[in-house]
């Protein structure tokens, strides 16, 4: 089992990680690095000051208008439309001067009763009492989401373009091959928790918003920088908000969405705008989804100490109760046979192995019996020239590169303590003869910037490319150059890698690398 004690010590401050080459992580001074980063077309910087933030939320703009007296009927209808049954009861209770006494009394009683029941429900599932912004922050894969300039990031699965969701609720699409960067804005696009491109499609981008799900169709050939909101499909279902996680099926046909408020998981047929709710009792919601790259399984974690693994042929699921906390994050190996996940409150990475052949409907009998611990990330003290640094602790998110050779782990750290920074630890993974994780190193940014969000490029030619969004609004890319032991073929849905125009210096490519240099 791998632990952080085997890692090379973190870099001294002022140094940033540049790339992995020849089996070690290379670093550079940050000034030199900045010059290099600025020259690269895909490295971006979003200073917080450049974003125009909403000064007030939409609902509070009511105060700007004159008070308009409407009849009780009109107000009741509006309350019914906006707030549902509870809204209506609230309205009736509040306008006690106009309605008969018994009506306002009884509606007040019903309201109190409802609140009591919901508080009881909330005591079972404490997350239900959170506001929707807090809930997204709690369950997002992004570290400290509410304070983050870059709130979501997504590489296109086939080409070198990506979408960035910013704090001001806009989404920008960058493509190195085109000069235009479309900016997507929509009335309903608020508090973006996740974005994902549709596989096997050039244009469709799904966005998880506070109240709904948007699917943008951004024509790659269009020269428009502000696609109209007519290009977006709005998918919503009553009770299904806020949406914190989405997942496209690797074949591009279905879209899954999950909300911690809703115990059903929606399977959307986006073209028809219809959905099939998949409900299971228990858990109190669904907080995180991850579709295996071969399309056969879906990980769905709930806000309580339970997660499910769905099999996508007949949509049945296995329950996996955790001992301690909820499943915080998870990722699949490229062939869909292995699931790595982390549990809130524990400092280890677990692995589950699915040995069944894809397509066999009943997987329960062949599934694994228990999860195995593959890495221990408990706190370890490293002494650096700047003093001791404690690395380790709880894990925010896990990502695995598409070839299954590098695993990046975002450690939460402690924002209060200066010597416990959030940091990305990168492991090498190997599947033969036994599955194990080997240390690779830490990825660090400029001084004072902590990693918030990371993602691997889906088809990087020369190894793996990790994209990191930092707390200072910078987006950098860290390449890991290696020669993969056996180029994996990604099952049914994977695609053989396309030749890309050479962008990187080729001198790293031919050097032989040893991924298993340490045991």
């Amino acid at each position: 089992m791998c632990s952080l004690a085997l890692f090379p010590p973190p870099l001294p401050s002022g140094q940033t990680t540049l790339c992995e080459s020849n089996n070690e992580l290379l670093s550079g001074a940050s000034t030199e690095d900045r010059l290099k980063q600025e020259s690269s077309p895909l490295s971006l910087h979003f200073p917080r000051e450049s974003l125009k933030l909403h000064s007030r939320t939409e609902s509070s703009s009511k105060a700007a208008f004159l008070d308009h007296s409407e009849t009780l009927w009109m107000r009741s209808a509006a309350a019914w439309r906006d707030g549902g049954f509870t809204g209506l009861l609230n309205e009736i209770t509040n306008s006690h001067t106009e309605v008969p006494k018994w009506l306002s009394m009884s509606s007040g009683c019903i309201l109190a009763l409802l609140r009591w029941v919901s508080s009881f429900h909330g005591s079972l599932f404490p997350h239900l009492t959170l506001s929707s912004e807090d809930m997204i922050a709690e369950f997002s894969q992004v570290l400290n989401w509410s304070d983050c300039v870059v709130r979501a990031f997504a590489w296109h699965p086939h080409t070198d373009k990506f979408a960035v969701a910013l704090l001001d609720d806009s989404i920008k699409i960058y493509n190195p091959k085109s000069a235009t960067t479309p900016t997507l804005k929509h009335r309903l696009q608020r508090s973006v928790a996740a974005v994902q491109w549709k596989p096997l499609c050039a244009s469709a981008l799904a966005v998880a918003c506070q109240n709904c799900l948007l699917v943008w169709h951004v024509d790659p050939c269009s020269l428009s920088t502000r696609p109209s909101s007519g290009c977006a499909q709005v998918l919503s279902h009553p009770g299904h908000s806020p949406v914190t996680s989405i997942a496209w099926s690797p074949s591009g046909s279905l879209l899954l969405s999950a909300s911690p408020m809703d115990s059903t998981m929606m399977v959307w047929d986006v073209a028809a705008e219809s959905c099939v709710p998949l409900q299971r009792v228990g858990g109190g919601g669904v907080s995180f989804l991850s579709w295996s790259p071969d399309g056969s399984h879906v990980l769905a974690s709930t806000p309580s100490a339970l997660f499910r693994v769905w099999e996508t042929r007949m949509w049945t699921c296995e329950r996996w109760p955790c001992v301690k906390g909820r499943c915080q994050s998870g990722c699949w190996s490229p062939d869909g046979s292995r699931l790595l996940f982390t549990v809130q409150g524990e400092m280890v990475i677990y692995a589950l192995t699915f040995t069944d052949a894809p397509g066999v409907p009943t997987s329960t009998s062949q599934g694994p019996q228990a999860a195995a611990v593959v890495a221990d990330l408990s706190e370890t003290t490293f002494s650096t020239p700047d003093g001791d640094i404690v690395v380790g602790g709880e894990i925010q998110s896990l990502v695995w590169d598409p070839r299954g050779e590098r695993l990046a782990v975002l450690l939460k750290g402690d924002p209060q303590a200066a010597d416990r920074p959030a940091i990305i630890a990168v492991f090498k993974t190997r599947a033969n003869p036994i599955f194990e994780l080997l240390p690779c190193g830490f990825v660090q940014g400029e001084a004072g910037a902590e990693p918030r969000l990371m993602q691997f490029h889906p088809n990087f030619q020369h190894g793996a490319l990790l994209t990191v969004c930092w707390s200072n609004g910078r987006i950098t890319h860290v390449p890991f150059y290696f020669v993969s032991a056996g180029v994996p073929h990604f099952g049914l849905s994977g695609s053989p890698l396309l030749p890309h125009p050479q962008q990187r210096p080729a001198d790293f490519v031919n050097q032989s690398l040893f991924t298993e240099f340490l045991s």
Binding site: H156, H158, T159, L200, C201, A202, S203, P220, C221, S251, G252, S253, L254, V267, D269, V270, A271, A272, E273, S274, V276, P277, Q279, R313, M314, W315, T316, A357, P358, G359, H489, L492, S495, P496, L498, P499
Partner: protein, 663 residues
């Protein structure tokens, strides 16, 4: 249980109906299973209804004892047997009337035609009658003032005589009304349309998921039906027939009808009626659309007609073709061993018969859709509004190759990919009559609602005396025909109702005699049919009514081609790859052009609270998305290897767009 005897008899009957054809038997057995489940679910539903109708807050114990007494009484058991019989009949009507390709009425008149068609009318009458039976059972169950039709009373002069119990009557009539309106709504909302789901689930889970929706639908539909019924009863109650003074409680006044308990009982029995029927329908849909796994090849020749390639090519019944296509899409996606059979060679001989049959059928489906779209676009694009297709010759597909097979084949706008489901609504009644060309546009179904008696009088004679009827043999003239008509229509006839600006300065073509005559007739027809304004986007829906088949064909082909990259040992797929690619690209072009038409890309209003399945309204969007994904699936798999595939330069350019992810 009581129903089991009836069930066994029913299955025996079906055995004969099914004609011992194994594949069709599958459908019949599924229908029987669904009916059996519906009958099994009847006791709990009835129990709930009894409790609801008899419940009183003040005497809960008395309620229970009354319920128990009712359930064991002879009349209770008799009415339960009647209800089982009704469920059986409803189930068989579903089996008789269901369709996998919806009949889409493109105008109000067409819809009216559908409603008045004898086949549907009989259906409505049967439903009406069954509604009365169910209402009678409800009346027996509820007891009290509803129980009997007559009751002894004394007239003013002291003579004892039987009086009409209007409470009983109102309930029976309500049953008839609800049954009738249910079947009418069924036609309007295409309730006999059975759609297939993209997400596979086990039957039990699917039923569990849909049950709350069905209950909600039934309750709301019952509410509306009862409201309409009350209004109707109020007005008809003024009729002299009902004013016979035989009733002591006159219910023809507003005050008499505003009896809360009566309304409640009417609503609950209407809900009960609709719920049992809707559950039967739901079970039927779930059972009949379940995935069926056809063998790809069989080692025995006598079983070969059940194999996937054989079933795919068969036209009848449509549902089997759909099930086979669904199975193809699933096997290509999930099952490596069955894919291996598709790619295998025949022994002896070494021919890829399986792949050839499958790919040929899928390609012919796609080509057919392309031709349909092109023909539609040609007629619409010439003057901006939909003209009728003049002939069916545009719709030739490779599967039906006879070029000149006689007048019948030329004149009737028969979509070659024949949509004759066993339940195709008008199949039995009017299949033989020559069709008006108009119908081909208005519905995808050969047997269109225009064949209703009223309209047949208008259109059929025109057809019969058309100079082309029975004379024109050459397909070339027919093929040229739409152009001739559409360019000259507006310029020649002054009485043209809506001259479009685009066609005003159109140069006069050579007015050949047949075209002039035909055009004259065409215009007359247009004037006659002017009241039937086309519903927007309906014709677009109609074009894509059977697109579920195309979606599966696209998925099946693209997944198989993708798998062939690593699994196809003998290279059988490579030989068809150029034709697959060009077929998809041509279709892509046609679909793109179609979506540029007005109304084509407007989304239909989503209706959720209805038992009718509106999947067919969005099929064109699903097809567009699937088509793009299918092409991308092939291009991402093969990448630059596609440059070695022989296709035309234009297609290569198009393909390059896909390779660069610019579509």
């Amino acid at each position: 249980m009581n129903g089991s005897g009836i069930k066994i008899k029913a299955t025996k009957d079906l055995h004969y109906i099914c004609n011992f054809n194994c594949s069709i038997q599958v459908i019949c057995w599924r229908a029987v299973a669904s009916i059996a489940w519906a009958v099994l679910l009847l006791p709990p539903i009835t129990l709930v209804f009894v409790i609801i109708s008899k419940f009183s807050f003040l005497h809960p114990i008395q309620t229970i004892s009354e319920c128990l007494y009712l359930l064991t009484s002879a009349s209770g058991i008799f009415s339960f047997i009647l209800l089982c019989g009704v469920i059986l009949i409803v189930g068989f009507l579903h089996l008789e009337y269901y369709t996998v390709i919806p009949t889409i009425a493109c105008s109000k008149i067409a819809l009216l035609g559908q409603l008045l068609h004898p086949r549907h009318f009989i259906n409505s009458l049967v439903h009406c009658f069954m509604g009365v039976i169910v209402a009678w059972c409800c009346a027996v169950t509820m007891g009290l003032r509803y129980e009997t039709l007559g009751y002894p009373c004394t007239e003013s002069d002291g003579h004892p005589q039987m009086c009409l119990n209007e409470y009983h009557l109102i309930l029976l009539l309500a049953g008839a009304f609800v049954g009738f309106s249910h079947s009418l709504l069924g036609v309007i909302y295409n309730m006999n349309y059975v759609s297939f789901h993209t997400v596979q689930q086990y039957k039990y889970l699917r039923f569990k998921r849909c049950l709350p929706l069905v209950v909600k639908c039934s309750a709301t539909q019952a509410l509306y039906s009862v409201r309409n019924y009350i209004v109707m009863y109020l007005f008809l109650g003024k009729c002299p027939f009902f004013m016979n003074k035989i009733s002591v409680h006159p219910l023809d006044s507003i005050a008499g009808l505003l009896d809360l308990s009566l309304l409640y009982h009417l609503w609950s029995s209407a809900t009960f009626l609709l719920l049992t029927w809707n559950i039967t329908l739901l079970l039927f849909r779930i059972f009949v659309t379940e995935v069926y796994s056809f063998p790809v090849q069989s080692s025995f020749t006598e079983d070969s007609h059940q194999c996937l390639p054989k079933v795919l090519t068969e036209k009848q019944p449509m549902i089997l073709k759909f099930l086979a296509l669904q199975d193809l899409a699933l096997l290509s996606q999930h099952s490596p061993s069955r894919r291996c059979e598709v790619f295998s060679l025949s022994q002896p001989g070494g021919h890829p018969h399986n792949w050839n049959a499958i790919s040929k059928e899928c390609l012919s489906l796609l080509t057919d859709l392309t031709q349909r779209l092109v023909a539609y676009h040609d007629t619409v694009a010439t003057n901006g509004r939909a003209k009728s297709l003049s002939s069916g010759s545009e719709r030739k597909t490779s599967s039906e190759t006879s070029v000149t097979s006689g007048t019948e084949d030329l004149m009737s706008p028969r979509p070659v990919f024949l949509m004759k489901t066993p339940a195709s609504v008008f199949a039995r009644s009017v299949a033989g009559t020559p069709q008006s060309p108009l119908t081909s546009l208005f519905t995808p179904d050969l047997d269109s609602p225009f064949a209703s008696p009223a309209l047949r009088r208008l259109t059929a004679p025109v057809d019969q005396c058309s100079p082309w009827y029975g004379t024109v043999q050459s397909p070339h003239i027919m093929r040229r025909a739409p152009k001739l008509w559409s360019t000259s229509t507006d310029s020649q006839v002054n009485g043209s109702p809506t001259p479009s600006p685009a066609s005003v300065p159109s140069p006069k073509p050579e007015p050949s005699k047949p075209s002039f005559l035909a055009q004259f007739l065409q215009n007359r027809k247009e004037q006659v049919l002017k009241p039937c304004h086309k519903l927007p986007e309906a014709s677009s829906q109609a074009l894509f009514a059977d697109s579920q088949a195309h979606i599966w064909a696209l998925e099946g082909l693209s997944y198989l081609v993708q798998a062939s990259f690593s699994e196809d040992q003998f290279g059988v797929v490579q030989t068809t790859l150029p034709s697959i690619l060009s077929c998809m690209l041509v279709l892509q072009e046609a679909v793109d052009r179609h979506f540029k038409l007005p109304h084509a890309s407007s989304k239909p209003v989503r209706s959720t609270s209805s038992m009718g399945d509106s999947t067919y309204k969005t099929l064109r969007f699903a097809l567009r998305a699937t088509l793009k994904t299918a092409i991308y699936r092939i291009t991402t798999t093969f990448g630059d290897h596609l440059n070695a595939v022989q296709i035309s330069a234009e297609h290569r350019k198009r393909l390059q767009q896909f390779l660069e992810y610019k579509e």
